[in-house]
């Protein structure tokens, strides 16, 4: 008798994979989503279905094709973690801004020109020597879009959503983040329209750095809480 095949993880049915278009710090690059990177085979069923739906929506006058393109461009190219890195670097450099950021996140973030959909209400939570913050949305995928762009697949998936609240140390270990036992961990479950941004600790050895240089240390994961900023010594 053949043994039962028991998958040890959920496998998500991704369609033909696009090329990797992000660098290690999460900087978005122009991505030609319109070009099919499938290997010469027919379009997948899902792809065909999406095209059919869009055709009907456009022909019924329910969506404007120009709006569709503008939306895609916004989230592929214009909005991404570089925005959040700018916010963090500015907070590290300007104590007054940092205080305003912790008081009312969305309002202070708007001072830098960022805001809008998916981040109308933002709370910024500060990492300190004694406290590490971790953000999750157990119920769906709520995430501060204007400062971090679209959330990664792992953030939206059942393993992270289920385990961040019950085993944050285990989750952090998977990301290579080991915190001392004495470090308090605060997990923030984004259950309302309030979105969360972690303000990581400024790395040592960055005295006198420009904001632009500081921003280059701020990774996307450090602003979710599943990572730490880059070590200045390791940066080229």
């Amino acid at each position: 008798m053949t043994p039962l095949e028991v998958p040890d993880k959920l496998v998500f049915m991704h369609e033909d994979h696009a090329e990797t278009v992000r660098d290690i710090a999460g900087e978005p690059r122009p991505h030609h989503a319109g070009h099919d990177h499938h290997h010469g085979s027919e379009l997948s069923e899902v792809e065909l279905r999406v095209r059919a739906l869009e055709t009907v929506l456009v022909q019924k006058g329910l969506v404007d094709p120009a709006a569709l393109d503008a939306i895609v461009e916004t989230y592929e190219v214009k909005v991404g973690p570089r925005n959040g890195a700018h916010v963090v670097a500015h907070a590290w450099s300007d104590p007054g801004f940092k205080a305003r950021l912790l008081e009312d996140g969305a309002k202070a973030i708007r001072e830098l020109g960022y805001g809008g959909r998916g981040g109308e209400h933002i709370a910024v939570v500060e990492n300190t020597a004694g406290v590490h913050n971790l953000v999750v949305c157990t119920l769906c995928s709520c995430y501060p879009w204007p400062v971090l762009g679209l959330p990664p697949v792992w953030y939206k998936s059942a393993p992270y959503r289920s385990r961040a609240v019950i085993d944050p140390r285990g989750v952090l270990a998977e990301f290579g983040v080991e915190l001392p036992e004495e470090t308090e961990i605060r997990v923030w479950d984004s259950t309302s329209e309030m979105r969360y941004l972690v303000l990581p600790m400024r790395p040592a050895g960055t005295e006198g750095w420009s904001e632009e240089r500081l921003a280059s240390l701020v990774t996307r994961d450090s602003m979710i809480g599943t990572g730490l900023p880059l070590n200045p010594e390791k940066l080229q």
């Binding site: 899902v46 279905r49 999406v50 019924k60 709006a67 959909r117 109308e120 209400h121 769906c140 792992w154």
Partner: protein, 211 residues
């Protein structure tokens, strides 16, 4: 269910994994901007998809299925039209205000804030001990199951916001006070839990009772 296995983050993950994904995103946002249903309704449509689908499909496939469900319910697009790849039925007389291309940038930059003026005072204050009610509605709620019956401390009054539980079902915005409530891991998971860990949620006033 509290654990679905390893997180397995993908290194250098692209924003989109397939060509259809940004199209789904765009169609969901553009149709959402018609104002015929709320973001809360969209969330309910996704979370109420059959579990075998929900747990095995990719994120944007879930978004697609939920959008199709809503469009069918609202008699805007039907299954036969998708199969035919063209309109087959006229739209009813609905107030359709299409989200035009030139409106996208300012609208996305403004967003759709959900805070609303209050005509009453918050029932709870910072420092109050509160217990999460044991409610298990079949309809939409933002009360996470793992906090039901648990006691925490109000740490912040977030404000007065549209209430998703009613708004998702077209029963009105019914805004409520919303509180940041903190629970110790031991309260949530038992005495063996790490004493250095806490979990905070943003809870609407109808979820809370004094403790």
């Amino acid at each position: 269910m509290t654990s679905f296995g390893p997180v397995n983050p993908e290194p250098n993950e692209p924003v989109f994994h397939a060509a259809f994904e940004p199209r789904v995103l765009a169609n969901v946002l553009a149709t959402g901007a018609l104002g015929l249903w709320s973001g809360d309704a969209s969330r309910f449509a996704r979370e109420s998809l059959p579990p075998p689908f929900y747990y095995t499909r990719s994120y944007y496939e879930i978004w697609l299925a939920a959008l199709e469900k809503i469009l069918a319910e609202k008699h805007l697009v039907s299954e036969d039209e998708i199969a035919a790849s063209r309109p087959l039925h006229d739209l009813q007389d609905l107030p359709i205000k299409v989200f035009h291309g030139e409106k996208v940038a300012p609208a996305l930059a403004r967003g759709w804030p959900s805070d609303r003026p209050a005509n009453n005072q918050p029932r709870f204050a910072v420092g109050h001990r509160v217990r999460i009610k044991n409610i298990n509605p079949p309809t939409h709620t933002r009360l996470p199951r793992y906090t039901r019956g648990k006691t925490g401390i109000v740490e912040k009054i977030r404000g007065h916001f549209v209430f998703p539980d009613t708004n998702a079902h077209g029963a009105g915005e019914e805004p409520q006070w919303c509180y940041n409530v903190r629970f110790s891991a031991r309260e949530l998971w038992g005495e063996d839990a790490d004493p250095k860990i806490s979990v905070s949620i943003d809870a609407f006033e109808p979820y809370l009772e004094g403790a």
